[in-house]
Symmetry: C2
Subunit: 534 residues, 2 copies
């Protein structure tokens, strides 16, 4: 029997027909329906794709927020044999055009508020045979041919039977930003997505259960919202989708109102939400967990949520290539009764390889390094659900070795096998031939009460080749702290040669399209600021 | 990346090296070691199998109780590419010889106390090239060539690397008893066992976790002890193995002493243990769940464990063909706050199809029947981990249809998709053209306080073709109850024509090799007893 995505939507619709899906509209009102209704709409939509010219294997793009219609597309597209290509709407026009052309997308499903993007690009998208606006009505648009999503559903066949699809057939596609050059594409087969979903549902990983209510703030337009949409449908979990451009106040309201049990977001969102929580009374007792990812969660953030709300923050590590999750926080059985403080020391690490996943660390000379929690190395990883190549891209050669993905992440592993990311290979500061972790320094500075956000980057140094520079954003109402004071604050916990050479202040840190701190840009800005100061 | 059994033992040894495995010896003492030690012994053993003539694809038999050595064989055999053929030690000599010859087993691993069985059969087992006694020393024996298990381990290579095996390669083999004729063999591939294990680990099914301590009383010599050995190693769960011929008092002591969290056994064991619990003080507060299977658990048994010990009894349904589990108890989210009484009404059913599993019901005319909880039909089922044929056996034709297994179980399904087994097709009583469920009547009679055990079987009837007869075993110290009284006890809950025609009393009910009530024999005995009474 083939491993197919249709299992997810069929199980959700058949066994959990009354379980709720809540989706925020652009006017802030909430759309509510159930898995039973959703399954019927998915079948209707699937039945109409062939008429629009979509054939098995064709890539169909979505440019959309986390909404119920996007959720439907997660099933309607792959369950017909076409490929769900989620386009990262935060990319530049140039990159969006590049990836649609690279994928040769046949159709583009687009949220109304993102129409201007596609209207600008349409003349340069020769493969696209039609545009579907995810709305009740199609607004005035230059796109052609253009279809209304709700018309397609209205005309569809509720009794449409999903075909049995070979598990190795492509089901999804996503592009990951590259340090230089164009984004790199990754294909996910039905099998990969199925196996990733089994891992999410395990009691010792994310433990997706019917009784849960998930709020994935992590975008459905990138890395499949960590696979939550698939797992939630399979288990029948309630889902709350935050819609278009949600601000943290919207998220907090949704968590409280809808009694969310599991909130998943980028670390930056968790930090931003913390700022808002400090300003008012909120009840987060419904949450069993917050999962933050994309970068390491500072200890101070974990402590804030635990001390004030009793909510544990869990960490996962992965990447677009890993579909996306490869490790989860895990508290070993002999630590179950440990203090919350000790547990946070475990949760700030990236956790254990998910069942089926294998990983090891490699030093600069290509040798495996010991699991002693001291020796750093680049993480090499493979899982039964990860991709083993970039889509028609020569960079496969650098990125993959014999089915193992070279993550570019530098880490240590302790004797229990628990991963601790130390830095991105490209963010490591190589000072006098030794490695300094920008991330460890950032965590140290984040625990200073006046610091809201911080980044440490390498700046050129004549003597040491590179030296660390700290760029700090202070809390809105705090008294700014001098560089010398920050240095003194760090000193007890770091070797002297690790301490940043420069301390710069900014109003906000530049971010990338996926919400991570843009260290490439920051390095340039820091260098300029230091030159100006000199 | 291939789905391989080696993932289980490698993960257990690598990430949970200190977690305990406890195994009862024949002298009632306990052997204790860890996954770290076990993994090394498994590698040693694997490294020696080739020297004994075992090649990839060869079937190697085990005739053994639930012990740590048997647990080691669960990995050492398939991880070299050979096939773990667990022989049901409760079968007749004739059937044991048949299945070893049918499988063409190359080696037989045997527990010392089972040597006499194999000694009797050895002259008729031409495929067997060697016997390995699972002990420190080989006792005097007529077997030849014979090896000592611990010698093999001592001479083995701790650094042996398991090969990467194609996931479709055979890993396990088990024979299931047939109603008539020889047992039927089923092969499990690495993939099947891997996928079954993912299902066991899911939070909404058996939720196997590292923090658990499993006591599988269900035999490793049949249906892989429901897959618990594989899942426990993968998650690093502690395991307590009850060894040779464990009695219920031994089980109760192990549960209390070792703080077992999950106990898995045949319903008959749960009933027997209940008898012992009534006689003394016991603390079962360590248990999060008891899973009973093999037949339906009577409501009275569920109530006993819940009312007295707060332990929920969970139900799974499956078969040797299903590797073995296909459904699990599931409490829907809107029932989480229901009374324990209501939850028992859910738990006595066979539950929801495990994620990935599909099933439907078929009536006598081959039509699918509605999920209205009234209409009975035979369960047809398929899962990504189930087998789709019997091993070199013509009975595949009757047993499987287009990849679906015809279970021979008659069930209803309610609107929520929850399965309720009504009877074995062959145990149904066909009275005047209508179906009567022997099982429903048995459940009704079991709730009578004087009844310890009961079976209802069909006996021939001139007018109605068949009529139900109840065979009752009374509680040791109870006052026997007349047939008329039992009939009156049932009357409020059943249609009049369902009520058994005959009420017979026995000291004990005959059981099959796997501990189920032998209804075939019982029908003959009931018919004789009725004839004698007449």
């Amino acid at each position: 029997m083939q491993l197919n995505i249709k299992s997810f939507i069929e199980r959700g619709g058949q066994y959990f027909p009354d379980n709720p899906i809540v989706s925020r509209r652009s006017d802030n009102s909430l759309f509510r329906y159930t898995y039973g209704e959703m399954e019927k709409r998915v079948r209707r939509l699937s039945s109409r794709l062939a008429a629009l010219g979509a054939e098995p294997g064709d890539k169909l793009a979505t440019l959309a927020w986390n909404t119920y219609r996007h959720y439907e597309l997660y099933f309607a597209i792959p369950c017909t044999g076409s490929v769900l290509h989620t386009v990262n709407l935060r990319l530049t026009d140039e990159h969006i055009a590049y990836i649609i052309n690279k994928a040769q997308d046949k159709l583009v499903f687009v949220d109304p508020d993102l129409l201007p993007v596609i209207e600008r690009l349409a003349p340069d998208l020769p493969s696209v045979k039609g545009y579907i606006v995810l709305a009740e009505e199609v607004p005035a648009t230059t796109l052609s041919p253009v279809y209304c999503y709700e018309d397609l559903i209205r005309d569809g066949d509720e009794a449409f039977e999903f075909p049995e699809i070979d598990e190795h057939a492509p089901a999804g596609m996503c592009f990951t930003s590259a340090t230089t050059g164009n984004p790199k594409g990754v294909i996910y087969s039905h099998r990969q997505i199925y196996l990733h979903t089994t891992a999410l549902c395990m009691a010792d990983s994310m433990a997706v259960r019917e009784r849960d209510t998930f709020l994935p703030m992590v975008p459905m337009f990138h890395a499949n919202a960590w696979g939550i949409p698939f797992a939630a449908a399979w288990m029948g979990s309630a889902v709350v989708l935050p819609g278009e451009r949600p601000h943290v106040d919207v998220l907090l309201n949704l968590i409280e109102q809808e009694k969310v049990t599991f909130f998943a977001a980028a670390v930056s969102t968790g930090v931003e939400m913390m700022g808002l929580l400090k300003q008012g009374e909120h009840d987060l007792s419904c949450l069993r967990s917050i999962m933050l990812g994309g970068s390491a969660t500072p200890r101070s953030v974990m402590e804030f949520y635990m001390d004030n709300y009793g909510v544990p923050i869990y960490t996962a590590w992965g990447s677009t290539e890993m579909a996306p999750i490869a490790t989860f926080t895990h508290i070993h059985r002999d630590m179950l009764d440990a203090s919350e403080d000790e547990k946070i020391s475990i949760r700030i690490r990236q956790g254990l390889a998910a069942p089926g996943t294998e990983l090891y660390l490699v030093d600069d000379d290509g040798n495996r390094v010991p699991w002693d929690d001291e020796t750093m190395g680049e993480v090499y990883v493979r899982t039964p659900w990860s991709s083993t190549e970039y889509y028609e891209d020569e960079r496969t050669k650098e990125g993959f070795v014999d089915g193992w993905w070279r993550s570019g992440d530098i880490a240590t592993i302790n004797e229990r096998g628990v991963l601790r990311l130390v830095d991105r290979a490209k963010d490591l500061i190589k000072s006098g031939g030794e490695w300094i972790s920008s991330q460890d320094l950032e965590n140290g500075l984040m625990s200073h009460p006046a610091v809201l956000e911080v980044a440490v980057v390498a700046v050129p140094d004549e003597r040491w080749v590179e030296r660390p520079a700290a760029i700090v954003v202070f809390e809105p109402n705090s008294t700014p702290v001098s560089g010398d004071e920050l240095k003194a604050f760090l000193a007890p916990n770091f070797a002297k040669w690790w301490l940043p050479e420069h301390y710069l202040v900014m109003e906000a840190l530049p971010k990338t399209g996926v919400g991570k701190i843009n260290k490439k840009l920051l390095r340039e800005q820091a260098e300029e600021m230091i030159a100006e100061q000199a």
